[in-house]
Every structure is written in C-alpha cells, then in structure tokens.
C-alpha cells in the first residue's frame, strides 16, 4: 500500500464547512477522480483516509493534513492535480508527498493563526495583547455540546503580535487589527476564538463584529524562535 500525505486549504466561503463536511467531500472526490484508495478489511470496509487535527468550523486554513492509503501506486503530483480538480473551489489540495517514516501527527506541535478583528484599531489591539501576555493565566469558558468548559488560553500561547504590515486587507475602510498567533497544540486545544475570549477577559476588548481566523501553518515548533516548521519536510528528503 502506498502511503501519501497531503496538505489542503480551506478558503473563502468554505471556511464555514465543518470537518465532517470535508470528509464527505474528500471521499466523493476520491471516487470521482478515480484515485485507487485502499479499504480496510472486515464487515464494514472503510476507505484508508486519516484526518489530522482539523481547524474549527468558521476558521479558514492554508495547512490542513490528511493521510491516504492507495491500493495501487500513483505519482503524488498526479493525485494532487486530480483531487484538487475534483474538489470544489475553496477546498484546494496544495501538496501531496509520499509518506516517509515517522508519524505525521507527532510533528503537528503548534499552529500559526492570522486573526482579523474588524472594527478594532491596532492601538487598542496592542493594549489588549500586552495585557494578555503579561498575565500568567487566562481562564476562558467555551460552550460545547456537553455544556461549558473552562480552559487556560494563556498557557498555550507561544507568541502573539499585532501586525502592521502595509497592504493588509481592511474591512470596508474601517479599522481591522491583524493579529499573528502562535499556539501550541494542547488538550483541550486552544482555538483562535478562545484567545479572543482571553483578550475580552483580561482587557475588556469586545470586538464589534465576529473575528475572522485563518490557520497559516501547523507543524514542529522551534521554541527558541517561535517558528513553526513544515511537517512534510522530513518526507520530502
């Protein structure tokens, strides 16, 4: 069985799709594209597709990962092109590599997020970010299907900065602070909206509009530089 690892993006409007939605879309795309996916044995055969930690519904991403098992060998780039064509625009397969040794899941140690806060000025955002970084803990509440859950949003934050790069898209001419967040993958996971809740908690920052988040990367964490590396680098070599 040929093992492939792929990175895909969830862009634009399709950030509102859930992880389960992507699973269905991928399984159908595999069939339409004729990718010879392997199936598990037994009473109820499942396609050999493994999904790795997925961004929450509503969060866009440039770096989501999936592992496939193929029953027949295919050129990774052919698979990439065929799957990308078969998936709707907005679910885009960006790279496919042949899996090397080692677990991909273990390499996904941290994520980089871009957080847009429409209606919040950069100055105000910086004030809140400073307050959060100065705090030792930030206990935020998240509502789940099973009730509410408290988690420490501060502990997982490796870096949090306010970007002032020129050319950043600004919502309709109004203020829109852009934050860059590097967060460790913890259990429970700390999501971008948990970090926003932490800013509200420590500094009363209440964004007037729903913030937009995009995962830019996930992979091995270099603690010294707060950089997140490419998890497929080891497979490429």
């Amino acid at each position: 069985m040929q093992r492939l690892r792929l990175r895909y993006a969830r862009r634009g409007r399709l950030r509102f799709s859930s992880h389960r939605d992507f699973q269905r879309a991928l399984e159908r795309a595999l069939r339409r594209a004729g990718v010879p996916i392997a199936f598990s044995a037994g009473f109820s055969p499942h396609p050999k597709v493994s999904y790795l930690s997925a961004a929450a519904t509503g969060v866009a991403s440039e770096a989501e990962y999936v592992e496939l098992g193929l029953a027949q060998r295919r050129e990774p780039d052919e698979v990439r092109a065929a799957l990308d064509a078969a998936l709707p625009d907005g679910l885009d397969v960006l790279e496919v590599v042949e899996a090397g040794p080692g677990s991909l899941a273990e390499r996904l140690e941290a994520s980089v997020f871009r957080l847009e806060l429409p209606g919040v000025g950069a100055q105000r955002a910086r004030h809140a970010v400073d307050a959060l970084l100065a705090a030792s803990t930030a206990q935020v509440v998240r509502m789940t299907a099973k009730g509410s859950r408290t988690l420490d949003a501060r502990a997982a934050i490796v870096a949090l900065t306010v970007d002032t790069a020129a050319g950043e898209p600004v919502a309709q001419g109004a203020d829109c602070a852009i934050l860059r967040l590097v967060v460790r993958h913890t259990t429970p996971a700390v999501r971008p909206d948990d970090v926003v809740a932490a800013l509200t908690l420590v500094d009363d920052l209440v964004p007037p509009e729903a913030p937009r988040a995009t995962r830019l990367a996930q992979g091995p964490l270099d603690v010294a530089t707060a950089q997140v590396g490419d998890p497929l680098a080891a497979d490429r070599s």
């Binding site: 799709s17 159908r28 069939r31 509503g58």
Partner: protein, 645 residues
C-alpha cells in the same frame, strides 16, 4: 430592464458565524449552476420550503433546476427555508430571502416556484415570502413581484394557500415549466400587456396552470361548498394535471447536486418509474401520479453511470412507489450489481412491497454493500383491514418473505403501519404485535440465531384528496393515542419476544393539523396565516410544531364560518358533497373513486392493473395514454468500470 441584483452574501457572511450549520447557506455545491443574469429572459427561483438538509436532495426540485437551466434564455436558482436563528438576524439586518447559487434576492426573479411535498411546509412559504419582501396576499402583488407558483403533490389541493399563491401546476413539472417559461418570455417581450393579470390569464388559458383568483368559491348555509366556478372567460371549469408520456426522453437529474453540508439522503437517485398501479386506497401519491410510465433499463443504467461519475456518491437509489414492480427489475439489478462489483457502491430499492419482493433481488442489491435491514409496509395489522385499504399482503406472504430474508443473512426487518384507517378497531392495531412476534419467531427459527430484530413504525392516517378515502372520517387524536398505547403495552407485555421488537410512533396531534390542511378549503387560509403570525414554522419538525398554536389559530381563523377543525378532519363526507378540490383534475373518475370507497368499506379488493384487466379508474382514457411498462427488450450493455486516474 432592471439591473442585475447584487449578491447579498457580504451582508449574510457577517451573520454566518452566529448561526447553526452555516455551510447550508453558502452554496457552491458541486454541479450547481450560476448562469448569467443579464443573458436570461426568464428567471426562476425554485424553493423547497424546508431546511436545506431536507430540500437539497429533493429530486423534483433538482429535475426542474436542470431542465430550466438547460433551456436557452432561462435561468434557475435555488432557495430553502432558513432556520429561525438566521431568520431573526436577517430581519434585524434587512437581509432578504436569497438563493444559494448566487445569493440573489428571491424577489428579483420572475417566478418563485415552490414544491410542496407536504402540507406542513405551508407556514414556511409565508416566512419566505415575508423575508423576500413579497406581499403575502397575491392580490397585493405588483409588477415588481415574482409569480408565486406552487407544485408538488400538495398542489393537488392548494386551496388553503389560495390567497397566497398566484398559480399552481398539478402533476409532472418538466414540460410544464418550459411552457410557463415560454409564456412569461412572450409576455415580457411584448411589453407585459395586461400587467400581472395579463400574464396570469395566459398561464391559465394556454399553460394548463391553475390560478386560484380566477375561481370563486360559494358556500351553502350549512358550511359545505356549493360550487367552485371560473370568474373569467376562457378559464377551464376543471384544471387538468400535466403528465409526461416518455420518461426516457427526460433523463433528469443527470448531474445531481452534491452538497458540502450533511443532508437527509446522500445517494445517486434514479426514478425508475412514475405512477403506480397497485391501487392502495390510502395512497395519494399512487393515485395522482397515474398512469405508470417506466424508464427503460438501459436509460436507468445510463443515468446511474453518468450520475455516479458526476457526483462520487457511494450509493445508488432506484426510486419509485413500488420499485420491485418494474418490469425489468431483476435483470436491471443484476446488471448494476455486476457493473459496480468491487467498487464499494451500494444499491438500494427503498420501496418494495411484500408480495412482489424477491429475496434474490435483495441479495443482488446487497452484493456490494452491507446487509443491514429490509423495510416492508404492510400498513395494516389484520388481513381484514388490509383488504379495506387494498394492500393485498397475506400474513403467509409476509412470513414467507421474512423467512427467506433471515435465512439469507438479513438480521433486521422494519415494518410500516398506519393507525386510524377507515373501519379500524383496536384489535386491528393490536394484531401488529402478533405479526411482529411471528416475524421474530420465524427469524430465530430459520437463522438459528436469537439476535434478529423487528422495528414497527406506525403513523397516524390522514385521508387525502383524490383518493378513495377522501370521504373518510379521520380518527381523532385521542383514540389514535389510546390505540397506540394498547399496541405498546401488547409488545412490552411479551416476555419472549418483546425486547426484540422496537416501536416507533408519534402522537396523533400533528396528523390532525395535516388533515386540516390536506382537505382544507380556502377558509383554512385564515388559519394558516394566524398560525404563522403566532410563530408557526417548520411544522414538520417536532421541536417546532405546536398543536395548541394551531388550534388557537383555527378558532380565530374559522370564527363565524360555521365550520371547525372537526368539520374538516373527523367528519365523514357525503357522496354528493362538493369537495374543495373537485375543480382540480388528477385524471381519476370521481364515480370510480366513490365506488372504490364503497368496496373498501365492504372489504372488497381490487387487482393491480399492471397484471390484470383495467378497472376503469379513468386516467388512461382521459389522458389518452396507457400504462407504459416494459420490458424494453434491450439489455443493459455491460459497461466495465475501468480503473481511472
């Protein structure tokens, strides 16, 4: 010519993070079509008045969507009911009812075509009109508003919606929507002579379209209808349904929509025939879709092949009212099972009758997939009641079929029944427990295992227009509930088999509301409006349905008319009474329907006209058609599904 409307997506997008399942409003499904607005002369918004997860898979809407978009100069987009959480935000922010294809406001289209599979979608129509900014009353609409056109099975009695509809099309929609499009195009090209009324007159006179405003309803002092008469010249006394004569010429849907969101059906569905010859007396679908018109096996197989390639679905559904009756069903299922062997594609035949069922058929179907459960619909617990409803299943047939199924490796059987059928007694329903027991005992005996299961699913019977039971009294909900309780107790009391029998049922109240709307006349429209104003929405969903709200609405809406909910539901009609839908022609002879009703009460059965002589229900001569059944004489060409990519 008005400019193309802007997409409402920017305003909508801000609301999506705050609502459940936002992906249902985003569109962009595989095989969705967005045609150029300005290049189209006639523009349709097609609506299924329920949540996206129910509406998207609906075959009728998908067929019309493709037929219209394939027509040069015509454009069709889709809209569905938005959940109450988004509705509230849309009202707050002034976001109108939108299509999911290009997020255009529904009010900007020429026609809003709404497909009603069930009467419980009526209040959702009012929500959509209100959110769209279209006046609820047809009489208040101007040239700025679309023509609101109803279709689907409930359109065979649209009277409770009459004040809110501009028009209705009965029967098959494929050719009808093309005809309507042509009439709209011509009217627009000529500068819209006569305005809105001018268009509606053309639709009524030349399009076979029912325009409620062109008929007056008169009442007798005791509340019954006196008559329904046209109030414009050139408008027919009775409006006939549309019937497609050759389904092979209309192989739709050819590229079904593939949603990102989860929906209730996720399979490639092909309608293998339309209509039904069995004559089950309670079944409106079977009666109003007559005569039977089969698709040939080669066409079905070609549709399955094209559809799977276009979608990537892992399951194929061969749909009809009684799929095992298709004259080529055995060779068809074998050919499909052969073709898809090894591709992990499963085949399903959702409606199979017990006496036509062939275990070999089931085994073929499950060759590529799992054997989970089989479903049958005896509908009645005793042989006597089954004669009344003309569902000719003997207990021997059922047990023999079930035995064959269990010995072939099937483990679960689901049985559908109804409660409240005409002449029914407590015993008829309690007998269901005995039947279920027999099924389990047989299953254990032939399979040698104890883990066989039988699920009994039972719902309240609602008499429907255009059926022999249209005169019947609906059973009141207290008696329905009492009878279901007896059944439940009988099953629970059984120490030997009770645990292997599952029972699914709803209480009788929603059926009464369905009954009110099903056989309602124009006076019921006031009830629909009152219920809606009081917050009624998604009435088919138990978390939203409120019986007390509807009863209050009925009291207010029917005040002063002399009739009430019981008058519409639990009252038995008389032979000479004018029924609210008599002016709408499903092709059936009313005298034949009455005679069949009498036969029912006298427990006389009628044969299936596919295999036995015609009993003159009236459809074929009236429509100048005959039932179209195979075999086609053509084999399904063996197509190998070669490995791709």
């Amino acid at each position: 010519m008005r400019p193309a409307p802007d997409s409402v997506f920017p305003a909508l997008e801000r609301l999506l993070p705050h609502v459940a399942k936002p992906i249902q409003y985003v569109g962009g499904e595989l095989n969705a079509q967005v045609k150029d607005w300005d290049a189209a002369a006639v523009r349709w918004a097609l609506m299924y008045p329920d949540a996206y997860e129910v509406g998207l898979p609906n075959q009728g809407l998908q067929i019309l969507y493709e037929v219209l978009n394939e027509t040069p100069g015509v454009l069709a987009e889709r809209t569905y009911s938005v959940w109450p959480d988004l509705e509230a935000l849309m009202r707050r922010d002034g976001v109108p009812q939108f299509t999911v294809d290009a997020h255009r406001p529904v009010a900007a289209f020429d026609v809003l075509g709404v497909s009603f599979a069930t009467e419980l979608g009526y209040t959702n129509l009012l929500t959509a009109l209100d959110l769209a900014g279209i006046p609820l009353l047809a009489a208040d609409r101007t040239m700025d508003h679309p023509v609101v056109l109803a279709g689907g099975h409930a359109a065979f009695n649209p009277e409770p919606l009459a004040p809110f509809l501009d028009a209705a099309v009965l029967g098959d929609g494929e050719q009808a929507v093309r005809t309507v499009s042509e009439l709209v195009r011509g009217w627009k090209a000529e500068g819209c002579p006569g305005g809105r009324e001018g268009l509606l007159l053309r639709l009524a006179r030349d399009g076979g379209v029912y325009v409620p405003a062109f008929y007056d309803v008169e009442y007798l002092p005791d509340g019954r209808l006196r008559r329904v008469v046209p109030n414009r010249p050139g408008v027919p006394l009775r409006v006939a349904k549309h019937t497609l004569s050759d389904l092979d010429e209309w192989p739709y849907p050819s590229a079904p929509l593939v949603p990102l969101a989860e929906t209730v059906h996720e399979r490639m569905s092909v309608e293998i025939f339309r209509g039904c010859t069995r004559g089950c007396r309670f079944c409106q679908a079977g009666m109003i879709t007559r005569p039977v018109r089969e698709r040939s096996a080669p066409t079905i197989a070609a549709m399955v092949d094209a559809g799977l390639r276009a979608t990537g679905f892992a399951e194929v559904g061969l749909l009809s009212l009684s799929s095992a009756d298709h004259s080529e069903i055995a060779p068809l299922t074998t050919a499909l099972a052969d073709r898809y062997e090894g591709t992990a594609t499963s085949l399903s035949l959702p409606s199979t009758r017990v006496d036509a069922f062939n275990i070999d058929l089931a085994n073929e179907l499950s060759r590529n997939g799992r054997r989970s459960g089989l479903t049958f619909a005896p509908e009645g617990g005793s042989e006597r009641i089954r004669k009344v409803i003309n569902k000719m299943v003997t207990e021997e047939d059922l047990i023999a079929t079930v035995a064959a199924a269990f010995s072939a490796g099937w483990r679960q059987v689901k049985l559908y029944f109804m409660c409240g059928l005409p002449t029914e007694t407590d015993d008829d329903v309690v007998q269901i427990a005995r039947m279920a027991r027999e099924v389990i005992a047989t299953g254990r005996r032939v399979s040698g295992r104890r883990d066989v299961r039988c699920t009994v699913s039972i719902g309240g019977f609602v008499p429907k227009p255009h059926t022999p039971f249209q005169w019947a009294a609906q059973l009141d909900h207290e008696t329905v509930d009492a009878r279901l309780a007896l059944l439940r107790d009988a099953i629970r009391a059984d120490r030997e088999y009770g645990k292997a029998i599952g029972l699914r049922y709803h209480d009788g109240k929603p059926s009464i509301v369905e009954g009110l709307l099903s056989r309602g006349d124009r006076r019921v429209a006031a009830v629909v409006l009152a219920a809606w104003r009081d917050g009624a929405r998604f009435d088919g969903w138990s978390e939203h349905f409120s019986f007390s709200r509807w009863m209050s609405a009925a009291e207010a809406g029917l005040a002063g008319t002399g009739v009430d909910v019981d008058w519409y539901t639990t009252r038995e009609r008389t032979e000479t009474e004018v029924l609210a839908w008599d002016h709408l022609d499903a092709g059936l002879d009313k005298e034949w329907l009455w005679a069949d009703w009498q036969d029912a009460v006298n427990e006389v059965e009628v044969e299936d006209c596919r295999w036995s002589p015609c009993y003159d229900c009236g459809v074929c001569p009236e429509l100048d058609l005959a039932i179209q059944v195979g075999p086609s004489g053509r084999a399904v060409l063996p197509l190998s599904v070669a490995g791709r990519a």
